[in-house]
């Protein structure tokens, strides 16, 4: 049991470190480090431009999408090299936030189901960040029940005509392309009537509207489709086999590790370390200490769980769905942490303006953003189901809609 790199790993790390030291946009490092929950923003610069520039620079030097084949704009690296890169890239990795969906979900799906020409055409600019992709699965009627989607695709000659609405599409407003899951046959059970496509987001009939979140920010969009035309050549997988195609996408989402979930603990510990309460330093208050200790072991537990997953990777093993505990634990924890931090501030905890609030309103922002964390990318309840079914092997929920034609489901 050790934390040492293998010689090859060490060599790779050194190379990455050196290149990053020489090329990373240092001027934003501090701002990126302190960025809290939700979409990262920069005070005096357009995050999109900064991110695209950094991604392009990485791509030109062969540091983009490391685990992708060279032909498609990657480096053909091993999973562990990818993790080492993430460790070395550190705060600058937050600039990749805009590409995560494209690199983590759309790319792998294209790689698995697009034609060779299409791959050579679309993947390199996706890897280099010149083109941004989004994922169009969720719908208002869908929610956790992704396969319940209603967006219709009807064949007209060599084209498909799309009508419907998607929601929770992150980055749709600045995306160039998207992968789209549609219903092509409502007369069969819901998982059997879906088909996947990719499309140009600039196509006529595509309308993007930002969603204002409970937190007041807008990290997501609604996307409306009115008679949008997609050539059959942009179909991914067989007609009505879209559900299986989408599983590839979702699996890849869950595979991404080391990314590190935010628990809010480091922020809370720092805050308590300097905070003075009525009768002494907060850090010496036994109630504070007990709360901190309980959060501390969750935070460290998650950290070491991901180190174990990385070790599995480095041995060429495939880390299992065990990783889904990260989001489950961190989601409700970050919310509790925020509430407790406000509690420690007393009545003034209600103030959220950067100038009036403690530590620039960090915890107030955390409080307002945290409910989303328990929902996005799978609710706590879905995560528990995943753990219970895939890890512990317990039976799935009873599916009343299993063999019912979609258009017969209430």
């Amino acid at each position: 049991m050790n934390f040492d790199d293998t010689p090859q790993e060490a060599a790779f790390r050194a190379e990455a470190k050196a290149w990053i030291a020489a090329n990373a946009p240092k001027q934003y490092e501090d701002e990126l480090k302190t960025a809290s929950l939700g979409r990262v923003r920069l005070k005096d610069a357009n995050i999109l431009q900064v991110a695209k520039a950094w991604q392009k620079k990485k791509a030109d030097a062969g540091w983009a999408c490391l685990h992708w084949p060279k032909d498609y704009g990657g480096r053909g690296s091993s999973p562990i090299e990818r993790v080492i890169w993430q460790q070395e890239e550190g705060a600058f990795g937050k600039l990749s936030g805009l590409f995560i969906i494209g690199h983590g979900m759309c790319g792998p799906t294209m790689m698995a189901f697009a034609g060779e020409e299409q791959k050579r055409k679309y993947l390199p600019p996706l890897a280099s960040g010149e083109k941004i992709w989004c994922q169009l699965f969720s719908e208002p009627a869908g929610g956790s029940d992704v396969a319940g989607l209603r967006t219709r695709a009807e064949k007209k000659g060599d084209n498909w005509i799309i009508n419907g609405q998607k929601i929770w599409t992150s980055g749709a407003h600045y995306s160039d392309y998207g992968i789209l899951l549609t219903r092509t046959d409502p007369n069969v059970p819901k998982h059997k009537g879906l088909t996947m496509f990719f499309l140009d987001m600039k196509s006529p009939g595509v309308e993007v509207k930002p969603i204002k979140q409970a937190s007041g920010q807008s990290d997501f969009n609604e996307v409306f489709f009115t008679d949008v035309k997609i050539p059959d050549s942009q179909r991914l997988g067989e007609v009505n086999d879209g559900w299986n195609v989408s599983l590839t996408t979702l699996m890849n989402e869950r595979m991404s590790i080391g990314a590190g979930v935010s628990t809010g603990f480091p922020e809370l510990f720092d805050y308590c370390s300097s905070l003075m309460l009525a009768d002494g330093p907060a850090i010496e208050d036994r109630n504070v200490r007990s709360r901190l200790a309980n959060y501390a072991v969750k935070a460290s537990g998650l950290r070491y769980t991901s180190l174990r997953a990385i070790s599995a990777l480095s041995k060429g093993e495939r880390p299992g769905p065990e990783n889904s505990i990260g989001k489950l634990v961190a989601g409700s924890m970050v919310q509790e942490v925020a509430m407790y931090a406000l509690d420690l501030q007393g009545a003034a905890g209600v103030l959220s303006g950067p100038e009036d609030a403690e530590v620039a309103g960090k915890f107030q922002a955390m409080l307002l953003r945290s409910p989303g964390v328990r929902v996005e990318g799978g609710t706590d309840e879905i995560m528990r189901n995943i753990i219970a079914e895939r890890v512990l092997g317990l039976p799935g929920d009873i599916r009343v809609d299993k063999d019912v034609p979609f258009n017969k489901i209430p």
Binding site: S144, A214, P371, V400
Partner: protein, 375 residues
């Protein structure tokens, strides 16, 4: 034994609910949330016309003279409806302080205006982070002139007057703290609204510069009067919290019945059912604790201190719990600005802090239980 509200009080509740459903729809609340108004003036006027603002104010001072059980009933409804008006600062804090400590002249001047909706009052206590305690009060008073800064002050920038906790001694004892009444027209008062977690209830910073003030009650008893005001307000705010918790629970329940996923209402999944059952449990425990608080408040019983702290702790937990999990039951939609869930979440977290933190009240509860056991 009748550990419940009377039929008349229940009628008052129905009346208030009907009124608020009409005059204080989510749409009305959003007008303030979105910053189109600092509070809902029409609603405020309406509450005055209904006689709600002065429900607990004696008739001789222009009130209805009904009593505090009636006020508890109204507080619950205000909480349910997220009423975007300075009700708690004016009615639970300013009016209560006047009734406890005010001179006849002071009562004559302000209480009728409060009842008529013509004066907004508040309590200026906090000076930045920290909970109620004498040493946290730095604002000075010397020959009835105040200098210092209070923040946050609920509804401070829309208030006409404030009860101010000030330091007029340096013995380090509670007796250093005295209460003053400041008419904002008097000058020397500068109030600015501050961004806060719940925009439907204003928070402000108030700077007092050589501000003339009149003493409220005996100087040396400022602190004990303040504690009494806070205890009474704690019960009333707890009813607002229970009202909010109940509403959040209902919203979650209704959505769980409507929303279909996997071919069935999500309310048929145990994960959702049991989440809602647990919300019901904490809301019920809080309500029961509040009823005891209401009894103690209305009878000014010796148990008030303990009852108020228990109601406060229980109701704070319940509203935060229900508001938080109401969003969770709603899933992604619950996290949109468009859905009302977040308005309850914001209010729950704001009310949890307004009179001092949960931890502070836990501490108060234990102190008071110890006193009782010692007695």
């Amino acid at each position: 034994m009748n550990f419940d509200f009377s039929d008349e009080q229940k009628q008052l509740r129905d009346e208030a609910r009907k009124f608020l459903t009409e005059k204080c729809s989510p749409k009305a609340v959003r007008a303030v949330l979105d910053g189109n108004a600092d509070y809902d003036r029409d609603l405020w006027k309406g509450l005055a016309d209904m006689g709600f603002l002065g429900v607990a104010i004696p008739e001789e001072f222009g009130g209805a003279g009904a009593g505090h059980l009636e006020l508890c009933v109204l507080a619950e409804e205000m909480g349910r409806a997220l009423a975007p008006v300075p009700f708690s600062s004016t009615v639970y804090l300013a009016a209560e302080a006047l009734m406890i400590a005010g001179s006849d002249a002071q009562k004559q001047k302000w209480l009728p205006k409060i009842a008529a909706g013509e004066a907004i009052g508040t309590l200026a206590l906090f000076e930045g982070p920290g909970n109620p305690s004498p040493q946290n009060i730095k604002l000075t008073a010397s020959n009835n002139t105040l200098n210092g800064v209070k923040k946050p002050v609920a509804d401070g920038a829309i208030a006409d007057f404030a009860i101010v906790a000030a330091r007029n001694g340096s013995s380090g004892r509670e007796s250093d703290i005295a209460l003053y009444l400041v008419d904002f027209k008097a000058g020397g008062v500068e109030a600015t609204a501050l961004t806060n977690v719940d925009p439907t209830r204003q928070q402000a910073e108030i700077t007092f510069k050589n501000c003339k003030a009149e003493p409220l009650g005996a100087a040396s008893e400022g602190w004990s009067m303040l504690m009494r005001v806070l205890d009474r307000a704690a019960v009333l705010v707890a009813f607002e919290q229970v009202g909010g918790a109940d509403r959040a629970l209902e919203m979650g329940r209704d959505y769980a019945l409507d929303r279909i996923a996997f071919g069935r209402p999500i309310g048929s999944f145990q994960a959702v059912k049991h989440m809602l059952a647990d919300m019901y449990v904490s809301a019920t425990l809080a309500r029961s604790n509040c009823y005891y608080g209401a009894w103690a408040l209305s009878t000014d019983a010796g148990e008030l201190g303990e009852a108020a702290a228990a109601a406060r702790v229980s109701a704070t937990q319940a509203f935060q719990h229900c508001a938080k999990n109401n969003i969770q039951v709603h899933g992604g939609m619950g996290f949109t600005w468009e859905f009302d869930c977040h308005m309850y979440y914001r209010r729950a977290n704001a009310l949890a802090l307004g009179l001092g933190s949960l931890t502070y009240w836990e501490d108060q509860l234990i102190d008071r239980m110890r006193k009782r056991n010692a007695a």
